[in-house]
Symmetry: D2
Subunit: 359 residues, 4 copies
């Protein structure tokens, strides 16, 4: 092999991807094949059962370790034998069914679905429309936003990796809410997402001709991700909080841009100023490898983060309205899905947090 | 000629386009060539001076009346001799210089720039950064939003056609503000615009590679269009009002989608409900040929309006936040520029309002 | 109604569109609603049976005559009662089944599918993989390429409107082949098509994410359109001829660009020169309203024809290889489908050929 | 630092990028920052002189080694002191002026421009329109197509990295020409390129609105890359050969798809068959890390290679025309520019050939 790999192969972590045929699964395959501390041992997909990795994803065919990989039908005992860590890239509802026996069998599970993000099974039912399939696991699941739950992730066995929209909204706002600098109930968030967020499914509204030269909002006044956004915001605010969130579909493959307007808190000496906002964000994210705080000249642009695990964050005080603007950009498939999940795995396994993520 | 044209040619209105080389100018050329009551007599462009229309815009070469048209350098006396109506598709500042002698010479002028949209020359200076070049004309200019100024347009000699973002924000909100149903100072507007909004100018940020697979906000907390948006909102509210407005650049050629969140007014019997909103909008726009109010199942999509002079409008009450969502979609070059300008001309000249606009 | 319509409504042609839910059908709906001599009376779609036109295609909701139209399930007797002309925008195989009773009932039928393009039912079976459903009609069908079959179209009852790729290849080559100026068996044609050519069907390869930022060939060495291309080329060459044709899928909604390389014929005085090529094309298409021959400075670009019924054609002699390059651009849904079909209807019904097509 | 780097920093190769502000330069910056055996020491750009890397390319700001890098004006003595290898990402003509003193000073130079690709300075003048600025260096330059010049690259001091179109045409054809299996003079090549091929320059035809929803050919019958394509084909064929090559501009950021038709050679036992073609290509590229030969089911797609240094190649015999179809896909900025240049550097410096290129 022409590629020099410095990690002792015997120490590599054996990893399974359950549900590897969607866009998030595909991204996990790529990242984990290139991860210096990982050996990808199991790839499941009912749809592609028996077919080689290179046949389904030609672009990975030449990566080290790819030639022997085949998709297989998911079989829990076999996965438990061959993997220490399992990533679940499955629809909500289905993920929980797989998580249960894997967790019981001692596997560390990182779930990219929504199944373990919501602490309260009643909220799950309200937003996802069915009973939670494994409510007994909810208490042990960790909401895997690394910048805010690093310690809990280190000792978790079940990690619920956050949704793409929530990541883009929570990272800019949580420190400001925690410090009491903004009034979270006044938050108006508009997010613009690339079409990969809709998944790889054959559906007329996501055909090229239906999306290209089209811009539209959807899920107006109700989107499932609101449940986890408001859960985390309420925790930070120490009070139940609802926000205004509107997602939009934009003709790009990848990327989420979020623009937020929120009222700063009023303090004895007057409303919170931009310097306090900046100081809070700088302190919160100092040294964070994947959070890029932009200065006063720059604004987030998805093209600066797509293909990376970074989130860009910017802030402006509007002198005319007195409201604070917060903006972020991330790759919905990386910081918003597979990249963040691997960041959690790195923490969980005591690896350098950026291992395999410096794209 | 194979095309049957029912209008007596001698009664056609002689029309000039001043500055016909940009995207708005190009759109005017197409619309006016196809307009049954118009004879396009003058096309000016310093850049293309002397070249034929078909050479610069091959797609119009075969339209009736196109073969004899040539771009010329602008010359006021000659324009006055050959045109009754002049459309100005020029940068702000430049437009006013042309408007003055044309108005003085008796020509009816429809200006697509910002020069005559702002009633107060101090506001113009604040937002456009220079002294107004023809302040004496401001009082006679009519802000040409046909659905709201139809009567004034009928007798105007100088029409300031509204900007693209303002049209998308004002049409959904003005009736509600006028009826006191919403609190305009709580308005948060996010607009997503296609790249043609930036004009046909050679500028790195608008190259294909810089815009494709990119989504970004710009002009955060300050955009020139705010001046006319707030002027009109303040007039409707009968009180000075500022709003939160954030434009975004989206990789489509044409189209603006606007998403707004606003607090409904509080009335004695409780907050304004969605039925009152709907009734107000339906009454305001009943019979309007270019306003399409969407029912409870549909949301605006730019692909449903691009290439037409229509604006789509939808509304939703958010039961969780208690705020009203207003959404609109339009073609920035038609209802947001050239189409609306021609709609004004139709009114001004007593023609059917949809003449030449049923694309 | 605000729109002035000069045609006596009682003289309007009653027209049906059978299969109005795909991209070609949608285009026909728009064109026929705006056509000054047409009254659209029947729209069929099993999928949308009972729903209003405006609900399915919001952008047409405001066109004159649109408000009363509903999709219905196809019923031949009812169609025969209400329509003089029927456009079939159906899959091949299905179209022929509808054509038969409509033709028998006296309706003039313009079929946009491939069912009546191929004169020889054996060739149909070879390329379309099944027996021809109505071979007895083949002899009376006219291949509706207006520039080449205008006289036959005038008296046809069944018109087979040509395919999108064939139109882009045949219009540049037929005059040259007919005059013996090129050697058709040396023709290498590469066509690049927008994604609407694949139709509005839910299929993974045509999802936005699969097409955007992707360029690919398909159907290499075999495409169904070859059957009609070679039929027409062989007729013009008066000898059976096969050609090399490779279609490609390009991330645009609409448009076909075709680039061809072919050996000029050898004549006593040497190989055919570019002047002869130009003279032949100019003579062939002089006065043709929808063929735009480009001069030596310009090359075809789909953006100059999309939204119109025009085809652009250019030619260059390569002094290094001695081969002739022929290039064309058209809108696959207009000159390549619905626009051309209406052009045929105009001829058939004695209307101005450009009626309803000057977009 | 959180990133584990196994290479002894003192053994890293010191590398300069001269002209780092264009698309190829930007790609080199990214690849070389991530290259395990490279220390990027010099970045020049007149335009960005004095500005930090992170300011100009925010997405690289977090890569290891990026924080200290600043663009500087090019200064040969300083470059010679600080770099062992220099990549030139400059316009043709300019590159040769920089190459001369760097080569004289002992630096290994890898030039991404066309300046040293053409062996014959007369051909350079014919295709590039000016005298070659450093003809004395032509004889020592190696045309850096690694799969065909690996040995020469090992000992080169000046490497001319091939153009994007030439790479996509030469890799599929050179083995077949060398083995006499095809008739190169019958080659008709059509290439479709993403817009980044035009470079990051402010030019109207490359604006988003001018390229999006547009497909066009350009440079018909004459493109500068023909000079190197024909030079290499003629060398392989051992006879002067001209070919038909037509480039097209396609609305994607990156990627080139090439489709070729060529007559197979005639041999005593009949024309060359597809098995011989396949055997020849398999033998030529067995073990090549960046050439992916596709089987009979797959066709190249730029989305499978964009972001990688791979080229995909497929072949089909057309039973109807008797001609061979060859197809390839590559990333114009990687295998067609910066990736291939680094592949050459790896060979030149005795590194694993895939080092830093397994994206």
């Amino acid at each position: 092999m022409r590629f020099m790999n410095p990690v002792d192969p015997s120490t590599k972590i054996k990893v399974a991807i359950i549900g590897a045929s969607g866009y998030s699964g595909e991204e996990l395959v790529k990242l984990l094949l290139l991860h210096p501390h990982v050996q990808l041992t199991v790839l499941t997909s009912r749809q592609y059962n028996g077919r080689s990795l290179g046949e389904i994803f030609p672009r990975f065919a030449s990566l080290p370790g790819a030639c022997d990989l085949r998709f297989e039908a998911p079989d829990t005992p076999s996965i438990l034998q061959r993997a220490e860590v399992a990533f679940l890239a499955l629809p909500h509802g289905v993920a929980a069914e797989f998580a249960e026996p894997l967790v019981a069998g001692g596997c560390q599970v990182i779930d990219l679905s929504a199944d373990f993000r919501i602490r309260d099974s009643k909220v799950y039912r309200e937003f996802y429309g069915s009973e939670h399939p494994a409510p007994q696991l909810l208490s042990q699941a960790v909401y895997g936003l690394p910048e805010w739950r690093r310690e809990a992730i280190r000792s978790a066995q079940l990690i619920a990796s956050p949704g793409c929209y929530p990541t883009s909204i929570l990272l800019p706002t949580l420190p400001l809410i925690g410090d009491g600098l903004i009034q979270p109930a006044t938050l108006v968030a508009n997010s613009l997402s690339g079409v990969s967020g809709a998944g790889r499914k054959a559906d007329i509204p996501f055909l090229f001709v239906e999306c290209n030269e089209s811009v539209r909002s959807y899920g107006v006044t109700f989107h499932r991700h609101l449940s986890e956004i408001e859960q985390e915001i309420s925790l930070a605010a120490q009070a139940p909080t609802v926000i205004q969130f509107t997602p939009h579909l934009i003709p790009v493959n990848r990327g989420i841009l979020t623009t937020m307007s929120v009222a700063p808190s009023k303090q004895a000496e007057g409303p919170v100023g931009i310097d306090q906002i900046e100081a809070c964000l700088c302190q919160a994210y100092e040294g964070e490898p994947f959070v890029r705080l932009l200065g006063p000249e720059a604004l987030p642009d998805t093209k600066h983060v797509v293909g990376t695990n970074h989130i860009e964050i910017a802030w402006r005080m509007d002198p005319r309205t007195g409201r604070l603007m917060l903006m972020s950009a991330e790759d919905n498939l990386l910081k918003g899905a597979g990249g963040q999940a691997i960041q959690s795995m790195n923490i969980l396994r005591g690896l350098p947090e950026t291992a395999g993520l410096l794209l």
